[in-house]
Structure formats: structure tokens, C-alpha cells
């Protein structure tokens, strides 16, 4: 175990001097190269959350329906009848920038494993994507590759990809965001955790073989690996969805028996983080014989095996005597199966290779002793609020509407979601394009509603309000289909945390999220942090993507956004103040990104949402849509396009300049279509509940008609709305 660890090698492992000194201290000696590699992985930002941990603690994680909050592979919430929804969101930003197809594909594979590891059958995938400016040279290529990769993987494993979001902004030119979310369903008495137990029990490796995939580049430059470079070069991870599909089926089949004590997928930092996490949670040691690890290539060394990020692999601890039973299942599914070690009472991760002890590390030193940083942070200076008369009106309202609805940020994403099989499993009852996707819980009356949301320009303008808004928007989207929001997962994408401004965005966003989660009874049950999304010193817009999950007890009571009946009245719920600061209208039509974002009144949010949900449950609404980017104008158009039916409204009751009334992005609002017969009743109920409700007009006709402001034929609107993305992508079809 003698390797010379030079300062250069330490640096290549992403550790600073202080951190290296800390390793020597907790280990009581100098590490060898393999041990250094293991520390570097476990103490990386990705695994240790060293910059974020202090702040993540502020997020509420509990509610009576939460079965398992953050800390396991995914969050678990009770959905009644002995069933649980299990979900998580994760980033694969950097790999997707380097190789969009494989990066996105393996991102989907990874998040699926986090969910089925816990015993859930995955029932829905979502994806939250951010790309650079449309005119940026790489954008088409990246978008086309990412979408193909997500589809290529999800379609093949047979899990419907039911929704997501896609934004364009120049701040992502050099750092796209690819966040993938999976939701699964499990029986509550069949949930599996990762804490290893039982001294002497077998540690079992299943799935694909280990290759030299994704071993972090810098380390490969060290002398140890410089001979024979081409052969030993680390490589990009390639996804194998066919193997993943078999892995899902094999794991679920084994889980239906009584053989498993603990199970953990091998995600980032593969064998290292999975074995350390399992041992650490169980308070035990692991003795692994690396000679037994199934390898794809000849001559693989312990360092490579421990740091490889080969996909489609799992680690399990089996009950004594169940090895043969488990092996038979994995053989049936034609997957590798190998007993690679035992649980020990040493408390150490002890690795042998070809008979030699090659690493011996106290497990707690890898987890509990990892550094935690309270990095300096500053809040951005407060922006000045903008009144409507500080924001130019469009010369031509109709043209502005077409520009917004046919622009990069509001146009239809059909081009994307038609490349995803969003119907496999035959339980998708609200397809992409609505407020939230809805999938039935198979064989029951229930359904899960899922939505991912974030408005990065708000977070940039005011991290705390932006953090609040992201959470509130998912809550509103779930509510708009009639679901009761249960909990969220998150993917916190930010720039370099060593810059106090960026750290300030992070801290502010978390405070805002926490406030919203508290106020809405909507805890965080899982999540992921992705920092250092930055090129040449410019960071991305702060992007705390939120994935919300809600429950519809009776799937037949689901609401949709499409107009269904001519002559329905249109009611706007929530107060309209005409807030234009940081709006999409300003960004897309005026090229401005200033002003404060719309404030989020969480009390109004909850009150208005609960009211809308109760009306959906009572069966009083024909169509429902929440208001967000693009304001009233966007929601009205989307409802009309979905139902292929126009509308005539009058803005006079709002007593605001037309551009503020139409494009303002005040929060906590919904647009409802109700039959004439129910109008009076709903307005009365709203008044009684102290909720703003205004009758604006009615459905019908073949245009969007706004009295004295605009009249745009639905056909033109559809052409603009459906046309942008196919035209944009037409030249990137490969």
C-alpha cells in the first residue's frame, strides 16, 4: 500500500491541502492512491453536500403522510390503501453537455434505479430541461440529442415519460440542465432501504459488468495509469436500457420474495458510494474481494473498479441462505450475479485484490468526517419594483400575443413529447400538455398528478421569492387537475458556491422554498444539488427545479384545461395587480429582464387553490388552468387551443392598463370555465370564502377576442404556437 501522493495528485482528485490533511488526520496515516480516490469521491460536493448540507437542513421534510424523507435513495409518501408513491429528481447536466444522447439517457437510467431500488415499480418519468439561447450554435444539437436520449432510454424500459419543462436562456449556453424525475408505486410493507445488517451476510453485485466508464478524468493523468493510454482512457458512460429493463424486473421479482436485507443502486461513484452508504447506514464494516467484481475489460485495477461509473448495477445484502434463490432470478433475466464480500463488525471498508489488502478505511471517516462548509453568501441588491407605466405597451397587442405564444419559451413542446412514449402502461390519463401529468395507480380508482416547475428569471431577480414561487407553482399545477399536493422533490442547479453571490442565491432560494413548503403543508422528501454550473465565470440563472406529486382519490374527478362547451363563462380566480416585473412579456417582447418578480402570497395561494380544488371535486368546473408565465393571455390561449374553441373576454373589470391585465404574472391565480348555470353559485361561494373571482367573458367562436384590445384567429395562434419548435429543430434531425 505504498504510493507516493504528490500535491499534483491531490489536486487532480479535487481535494485541497486542508482536506488532504484532514484525510491523514482521520485515517491516522497517509492514504494510498486507491484510498485517496475513495476519499475524493466521498468528500466530493456531489456525495458529501459539503457546501449545501447546512442549508438543506432548513427544508421541512415531515408530514403525517411522509413515510421516508431525504436520506434514502428516494422519498416515500403514503397514498392510501397500503400503497406508497416513491420519487426523486436528479441532475445529469455535465454529462449531457458533453454527450447529449448518452448523458440524458444515463440520467434517466440513474433516477429510475433510485426509485426501483426501494421496491417501487416506476410508473412515470418527467424531465426538466434548460438550454442556451435558440440562436446559440450548440442549442439545436444539444436539444435534439437530449430529447432523443431521454426517449431512447425511457421508451425502451417501458416507463411513460409524461411531462416536464423546457426553457431557453443564454445563461445556459455553456451549461445546459438536464434534470430527470421518476415516480414509482410500491406496497408500504414492501419498501426496501439501504442500511446493511447482519455480520457475515453476503454482499452481492448484480447487473452489468464494470468497465472504465466515467472514472473522473483528472485522476487518470496520474503516473499509475499513464502507460497504454488509449486502452485505459476513461470513457463516457453509455446507457443500456435493455439491461435496465431486465434489472427492474429481476429486482422486483426478488423483492417479492423474502431474500433482501438491503439494496442500493450504484449511481455516481458506483461501488464506492454504494458500499460506503450501505455500511455507514447500517453501522457495519464491509470486506470486499475486488477480484470477484464482474469486469467488462481485462486488467482492471482496484482503483478503476471502485471509481467506475458503469451503469445498470446494484449492490445488495441478502439474508443468509438466499443466495441460490436470488441467483436463479438474475440468471433467468440474464444478468450478472456475484457474491463479492461479507458484512463485518470491523467498521471498516476493507478491500482485497488478488489476495492483498489494498485499502482499509474506517467507514465513518468517509461520511461523518467529511468536511462541511458554511460558505460566505450575499443577497443580490434589491431591485426596484416596476409599475405598469414603466413597461412599454405593445404597439399591436395581437402581434405581441403571437410573438409570446409562438416564441421559444411559451410555444408548444409537442415536438419533444411526441418522441417520448407517454402512454405505455396504459394508465396515463392526462398526457403532456396540461398543467400536471396524471397517471392512474394501476388497478385502483386513484391517480398521481406530477408537475415540475421553476421560473429561473424570478430566482435571479429575488432568490427567496423565486424559491417560493417554484414550489407554489407545482402546487398550483397539481391543484389545477384536482389533485391534493403531497410532497416535492427538488434539483437545485446553481453556479459556483465559492462565489458569495451564487451562494447567496442558493441560500435565498432554500429559504423561500422552506417557507412555501411550510405554508402549503408540502414537504421535501428527496432531492439533489448540482453546483458549479458555470463556464468562464458566468453562472447559469439559479434554477431550483421542483417536482411535485399529488393524489387524486378519484381519478374520474380529474380536471383538464381544454375548453369543452361553447358559452361557458370564464372566471378568473385570484387578485390581478398587473405585475409585469421579470415577466415573460418583458423578456420576449421587450428584451428586458429587470424588475422584481411577482410576490408570492402563500396564504392566498393556499386559499385560492383549496377553493379551486373543492370546486373540481364538486364537479362544477368544465375546465381549469393556472396562470403563470405569460399571465392571463397565455392561459386563455392554451385553454382555447387545447379545446379548439375560441373565447371572448373583456378586461374592463380588472381596471388595469391592458398590457398589465393581459401579461402580468401575479401569482395564486386560476382561470375557470364553468357552465352558465353554475356561474352565480361559484361566484357566491368565492365571495363567501373571501376569494377574488371575476367573470371575464365566455367561450366560443374561432378566435381569441379581447374587447377593444385584440382579435386573433385560433388558426393563426395555433400556427405560431405549434410551429416554432418544429421549424427551429427542422435542421437538427440527426
Amino acid at each position: 500500500m505504498s504510493d507516493v501522493i504528490t500535491p499534483a495528485i491531490i489536486q487532480e482528485h479535487g481535494l485541497n491541502e486542508e482536506e488532504y490533511a484532514r484525510i491523514e488526520r482521520v485515517l491516522g496515516r497517509a492514504p494510498n492512491l486507491l484510498e485517496l480516490g475513495i476519499y475524493s469521491v466521498m468528500w466530493s460536493e456531489h456525495c458529501s453536500y459539503k457546501s449545501s448540507r447546512l442549508h438543506l437542513k432548513k427544508l421541512p421534510t415531515k408530514a403525517p403522510w411522509v413515510i421516508c424523507g431525504p436520506g434514502e435513495n428516494a422519498g416515500v409518501v403514503d397514498i392510501g390503501d397500503g400503497q406508497a408513491a416513491i420519487f426523486k429528481m436528479e441532475s445529469h447536466n455535465h454529462p449531457s453537455f458533453i454527450e447529449p444522447y448518452q448523458g440524458a439517457a444515463t440520467g434517466v437510467g440513474g433516477i429510475l434505479r433510485d426509485v426501483f431500488t426501494m421496491g417501487a415499480r416506476p410508473v412515470a418519468n418527467m424531465n426538466a430541461l434548460r438550454f442556451g439561447a435558440p440562436e446559440h450554435l450548440k442549442t439545436r444539437h444539444l436539444l435534439s440529442g437530449v430529447v432523443a436520449g431521454i426517449g431512447g432510454y425511457g421508451n425502451c424500459v417501458g416507463v411513460p415519460t409524461v411531462g416536464g419543462e423546457t426553457d431557453f436562456h443564454p445563461s445556459y449556453n455553456g451549461n445546459i440542465l438536464v434534470n430527470a424525475m421518476t415516480v414509482g408505486v410500491a406496497e408500504i410493507d414492501k419498501i426496501f432501504y439501504s442500511a446493511a445488517a447482519g455480520i457475515g451476510n453476503s454482499v452481492v453485485y448484480v447487473g452489468s459488468r464494470t468497465g472504465r466508464d466515467g472514472i473522473h478524468g483528472a485522476t487518470m493523468a496520474s503516473t499509475e495509469f499513464s502507460e497504454d493510454t488509449e486502452e485505459k482512457r476513461p470513457t463516457v458512460q453509455v446507457g443500456d436500457p435493455f439491461t435496465e429493463k431486465r434489472l427492474i424486473e429481476a429486482c422486483l421479482e426478488l423483492m417479492s420474495t423474502d431474500a433482501i436485507i438491503a439494496i442500493q443502486d450504484m449511481g455516481a461513484a458506483g461501488l464506492t458510494s454504494s458500499s460506503v452508504e450501505m455500511a455507514s447506514k447500517g453501522g457495519v464494516g464491509f470486506a470486499l474481494d475486488l477480484s470477484k467484481v464482474p469486469c467488462r475489460e481485462d486488467g482492471m485495477q482496484p482503483y478503476e473498479m471502485m471509481l467506475s461509473e458503469s451503469q445498470e448495477r446494484m449492490l445488495m445484502v441478502l439474508k443468509p441462505g438466499h443466495e441460490a434463490e436470488a441467483q436463479a432470478i438474475f440468471r433467468k433475466w440474464e444478468l450478472d450475479f456475484a457474491v463479492i464480500g461479507q458484512i463485518t463488525d470491523s467498521g471498516n471498508l476493507s478491500l482485497t485484490f488478488e489476495g492483498d489488502l489494498v485499502a482499509d478505511i474506517p467507514v465513518p471517516s468517509l461520511t461523518d468526517d467529511a468536511p462541511i462548509y458554511d460558505r460566505p453568501h450575499v443577497q443580490p441588491s434589491r431591485r426596484a419594483p416596476l409599475s405598469p407605466d414603466q413597461v412599454a405597451r405593445p404597439d399591436d397587442y395581437g402581434a405581441a400575443l403571437l410573438q409570446l405564444m409562438g416564441g421559444p419559451n411559451l410555444s408548444s413542446r409537442r415536438w419533444i413529447w411526441e418522441q417520448y412514449d407517454h402512454m405505455v402502461m396504459a394508465d396515463t390519463i392526462q398526457r403532456p400538455g396540461g398543467d400536471a401529468a396524471v397517471v392512474r395507480v394501476h388497478g385502483t380508482q386513484k391517480a398521481l398528478a406530477i408537475s415540475t416547475d421553476c421560473t429561473p428569471r424570478y430566482v435571479a431577480a429575488d432568490p427567496k421569492e423565486g424559491g417560493k414561487q417554484a414550489v407554489a407553482e407545482t402546487w398550483r399545477n397539481l391543484t389545477a387537475v384536482g389533485a391534493t399536493p403531497l410532497a416535492i422533490t427538488d434539483c437545485l442547479n446553481f453556479g459556483n458556491p465559492e462565489r458569495p453571490q451564487i451562494m447567496g442565491q442558493f441560500v435565498g432560494a432554500i429559504e423561500g422554498m422552506a417557507e412555501a413548503c411550510h405554508a402549503l403543508d408540502y414537504p421535501v422528501v428527496s432531492g439533489n444539488v448540482s453546483l458549479y454550473n458555470e463556464t468562464n465565470g458566468t453562472g447559469i440563472l439559479p434554477t431550483p427545479a421542483i417536482g411535485g406529486v399529488g393524489l387524486l382519490k378519484n381519478a374520474q374527478r380529474m380536471a383538464g384545461l381544454a375548453f369543452r362547451r361553447t358559452g361557458d363563462r370564464l372566471i378568473l380566480i385570484g387578485e390581478t395587480k398587473g405585475h409585469l416585473g421579470s415577466s415573460l412579456y418583458m423578456m420576449d417582447c421587450l428584451g428586458r429582464e429587470d424588475g422584481t418578480p411577482p410576490p408570492v402570497d402563500l396564504v392566498a395561494e393556499r386559499k385560492n387553490g383549496d377553493f379551486v380544488r373543492s370546486q373540481i371535486e364538486a364537479g362544477l368546473l368544465d375546465a381549469v388552468h393556472d396562470l403563470s408565465s405569460g399571465g392571463l393571455a397565455a392561459s386563455l390561449c392554451e385553454m382555447a387551443l387545447a379545446g379548439n374553441m375560441g373565447a371572448r373576454i373583456d378586461l374592463a373589470p380588472l381596471s388595469l392598463p391592458a398590457h398589465a391585465a393581459l401579461f402580468g404574472e401575479d401569482q395564486a391565480r386560476y382561470l375557470l370555465a364553468v357552465s352558465k348555470d353554475n356561474l352565480a353559485e361559484i361566484l357566491a361561494l368565492a365571495e363567501k370564502a373571501g376569494i377574488d373571482a371575476v367573470d371575464l367573458g365566455e367561450t366560443g367562436g374561432s378566435s381569441i377576442h379581447i374587447a377593444d384590445v385584440l382579435d386573433v384567429p385560433l388558426d393563426d395562434l395555433r400556427k405560431a404556437h405549434e410551429g416554432w419548435m418544429p421549424q427551429f429543430m427542422a435542421r437538427a434531425d440527426l
Partner: protein, 231 residues
């Protein structure tokens, strides 16, 4: 009536198909694993959609060499009705029970959406519940649905009334614009000579209840299975 549902590694519409069969007949099909070598006495065989063997090499190619295939060929020759949907259709062409081949979609993208189909013949166990010339809607979800047969074969299919469905416009015109994937003659599904084997790219099993957005897939199962129920 006994239906068999064959599952290959990578099949992923097998459950959907089982649900459809059960919801129409009241009886679940028996599940048959690809490596089995006997089918027993069955009156109906379903090959589900999905990505058998990951669609690696060619869609359906590796599945077509499975242990159960000789049994399926024997049953097919005996006249046992066989329904292959999506990947099942690809497998049926690979084993030669149906003519032609399914290639990469002309637009190269995977396509998932509801499409209008014109019923070309009601003369089969599968299409007996539809009116020839009528337009129905079913979802497609495939990357390789571009049906190819050589011109002679195509003429034979036409002459023998063996084309089950064609991609069409909402009003039932068979036009190049309505041809979502480049298939020759807009063909979405074909029958074998004895009209007992149907391969089709669209997914009727995803259109059997109003929550799916329509029920146009139901008559296919109803007519096939009710005819069989009388057996």
C-alpha cells in the same frame, strides 16, 4: 377460450395487453416466457409491444430466434389466431409469418401520438367488429414502423384484401401527409394469407376505455375474442 401472451426480455406492453384481453373476455391470458418450448392448447396468441432485446441489431430479430417461436409458427399454421402489436408485428415479420419488414421511421424520430386509421377490411377475426372504410383512432408509439414490402408483394396484399389498416387523414383520405412513418401504401397493419394472423403498429390495447381518450381499440379484442369464445 384460452389466450397465451408471450413475453420476451424487453417486452413492455405485455401487461397492457393482458389487461385489455382480461377486460374484454373476463379471463386473463396465460403468460408464456420466451424460452419455453411448448404452448399447450391455446386458441389465441398475442405478441405484445415493447423493445424485445432492446431493439438491438434489428427490431424483433433476436426475439424471433427464441425457444417458443417454432411453437408459434406451428400454431399459426394450424390456424390459431395470432395478434402482433408494434414489436409483436416486427417479430412476426422477422419469423416470416407476415411478409415485409419494418424499418426506421422516415422522419427518424420516435413517434407517440393518436393517429387516424382507415379500416381496409372487416374480413378477419380481428377487424370483424369494424366497418370497412370507417376511420378509427389509435395511438402509435414506435421508432421503426416504416413498413416495407416489394411492389409484387404489395400488389398481392392489395389483391388479396390483406391490408387491415392504413394511416389516413381525419376524414379518411390516404395521403402522403397522413403517412406518419413512410410505410409503403400507408400500411399500418397486414394479415397473413389465411387471415388469422394480424400484425399492426398502432396500439389498440391503449384505446379500450374512455379514460384512454377513446375506445376504438375495443372492437378488435371484442370481435376476435367473442368469435373465439364460441369455439
Amino acid at each position: 377460450m384460452k389466450a397465451a401472451l408471450i413475453t420476451f426480455p424487453g417486452s413492455n406492453c405485455d401487461r397492457d395487453m393482458a389487461v385489455a384481453i382480461k377486460s374484454v373476455t373476463g379471463r386473463a391470458p396465460i403468460a408464456v416466457w420466451h424460452s419455453e418450448t411448448t404452448l399447450g392448447d391455446v386458441d389465441f396468441i398475442a405478441l405484445p409491444g415493447g423493445f424485445s432485446y432492446g431493439d438491438y441489431l434489428r427490431c424483433g430479430a433476436i426475439a424471433a430466434r427464441s425457444g417458443i417461436i417454432p411453437e408459434i409458427i406451428r400454431a399459426g399454421k394450424r390456424g390459431v389466431p395470432i395478434l402482433g402489436i408494434c414489436n409483436g408485428f416486427q417479430i412476426l415479420t422477422e419469423i416470416g409469418l407476415l411478409p415485409g419488414a419494418l424499418m426506421r421511421n422516415a422522419g427518424l424520430h420516435f413517434i407517440c401520438r393518436d393517429v387516424p386509421l382507415r379500416v381496409e377490411t372487416s374480413q378477419s377475426v380481428f377487424t370483424g367488429g369494424y366497418r370497412t372504410g370507417s376511420v378509427v383512432h389509435m395511438p402509435v408509439a414506435h421508432h421503426d414502423g416504416n413498413y416495407f414490402v416489394d411492389p409484387d408483394q404489395q400488389k398481392r396484399l392489395d389483391d388479396e384484401d390483406r391490408i387491415a389498416w392504413r394511416y389516413c387523414t381525419k376524414s379518411g383520405e390516404v395521403t402522403p401527409q397522413a403517412n406518419i412513418n413512410g410505410s409503403v401504401g400507408n400500411i399500418a397493419g397486414v394479415l397473413n394469407e389465411s387471415r388469422t394472423i394480424l400484425g399492426m403498429m398502432p396500439h389498440p390495447e391503449r384505446m379500450i376505455e374512455s379514460a384512454h381518450g377513446g375506445t376504438d381499440g375495443r372492437p378488435l379484442f371484442e370481435s376476435a375474442l367473442s368469435m373465439l369464445a364460441t369455439l
